[in-house]
Subunit: 338 residues, 2 copies
Amino acid sequence: MTRRTTAQDVADLAGVSRSAVSLVLNGRADGNISRAKQEAVRSAAEQLRYTPDAVALSLRSQRSKTIGVLFWSNHSHIPVALLGAIHRSASAAGYLLLTVDALERPWQVGALLDRRVDGFVVVAPELLDVPLPESVAAVPTVMVNCLDPSLTASSLVPDELGAGASAAQHLLDAGHRELAVLAGTGGLASERRVEGASGAVQAAGLPEPLVLRAGHAVADGYGGARRLLTSARSPSAIVCTHERLALGAHLAAADLGLRIPADLSLVSLDDGENLAGQLVPPLDLVERPDAVIGAHALELLVDQLRHGRSVVRRLTFVCPVRPGASVAPPRLRALDAS
Amino acid sequence: MTRRTTAQDVADLAGVSRSAVSLVLNGRADGNISRAKQEAVRSAAEQLRYTPDAVALSLRSQRSKTIGVLFWSNHSHIPVALLGAIHRSASAAGYLLLTVDALERPWQVGALLDRRVDGFVVVAPELLDVPLPESVAAVPTVMVNCLDPSLTASSLVPDELGAGASAAQHLLDAGHRELAVLAGTGGLASERRVEGASGAVQAAGLPEPLVLRAGHAVADGYGGARRLLTSARSPSAIVCTHERLALGAHLAAADLGLRIPADLSLVSLDDGENLAGQLVPPLDLVERPDAVIGAHALELLVDQLRHGRSVVRRLTFVCPVRPGASVAPPRLRALDAS
DNA sequence: CTGAAAGCGCTTACAG
DNA sequence: CTGAAAGCGCTTACAG
């Protein structure tokens, strides 16, 4: 392993002092260093492929150009688009990311602080209440997909209530009147989505929809949908609060010989797994705008890093409907019965 | 933002010199510092919650206790178990992980080097040839799920050939004679899995199985399976080289009114998405031992970091069969025809 | 047994 | 216009 080239090496080659190298390479040379020497430094640096040692830079500047990502995960799924956007924006601003599973290994937060991360972004795979540790709150922090009850850090979350409402409204718009909601158990996201969907149905002058809290796994969706679809008054359309539930419902419908969307309409809320929208037929989705949220979160954090502490905000992001091929008008059962 | 407490603060409180603090806290005090002062230092450190500044430590020791993870991703899926194991093992050895998307942002490799990462682990979501950049190879590196053609770094990969063979053998053992392989397009993993499956079938004295190269998406699996199952001589069992293909095949079977496993047996190879094993019925899987590979990779790297460069190795890991409920003996079509 | 000094690589006032 | 010095926080020989 060869020694890294240092500013001294460049200075030696260019025939100037270490400080001159620093000034030139940091664009503060004009009026200080002769143009000839500037050129010498630049070409020496290029020739030696010199890049300053970031560790030394950090010690000197007390800023590491590093952001800690605290992944607050209660289950195993990683929202690709969200992390992708965070990485992309961080990179664009010149930051590197140190990622840690804060639930499984909370002590690593201390290790990040020792490494003098400039800030934190707390990321949950799904809307969560996260009590922010004091040590974290001491550094600029933004929260993505999660909320700090004590309001010490800004948070960026999808409008889960609105998303639930949009999903239901999407089905109402298609003419459905017999809706059911297949939901996860526990979790802020599930509850808000259910609330939103239920609210939209009632706002349309219909009775409260049937809500079945099944769980989060594919099998839960399968079992739940089966129960709904084989019940006395089976719904013509189902809102699924999570992608994997929707997949389960999709499988259950197929097993029962129900065609989507001819016999059953399905709308799923999006969890960033890129799954429900890939099925055959692809499901109509209410998208979680992960890319937007991730990019915005980093923008907010970097701005805080540059201009100091700003006011704590809670930003909510609209979840747009992405049409698929799983929604159609309901069969005219009312007419059959008349 | 309050100032971090430094070794000097501890020294002041304990009434000793900075060096004494360092010696005591690094366990090199015996024979140098009186037991009384040792105690004083320890209690002062505890009282001030002192932990050494990792940046200063890095500059001093020329080791950052940080490992760079180069994610070599051509598509968007993240193998959770693999990354989880890597994080866990790294943490256990006292390392933090700096993750970077090396395909999308190759220049960040330089940024990691500037930050003096002690080593690299190159991770691909699926078996890949990765030509290792010189700058990376200059630092201890292990490759996970990918191979460096020039053999400059050790690599740890699943036995894809064996996995394909196991999948086919699993179906042969159940009595199937009419197998088809639904495969991804391009990619080392697909090819090796196909080769393995095909080899096992031929080793059983049967003619080469039908291989359909469909793609990687759910819809590809759906379309491919549909073609296979509606062809003149439809197979009694299908090996899917990827989870999402298997999901597509599952959906296609349901649409065609084929029950799994009564009418069709399905085996999928595992890509770490935790998907095929969750379906209803759960598919029989040939598992990729991601947790084992990840843990082993870090063990190898940390060992290299501690004891210097070791010999370059290619380690191959067996993929065990995990039974599900998607394989049954074939319908006795031969008897029907006789 | 303990403290002062050197040095990791950098930048930024500060003399000349 | 340029070089020598200080200092970020740490550890490790090295004097006393």
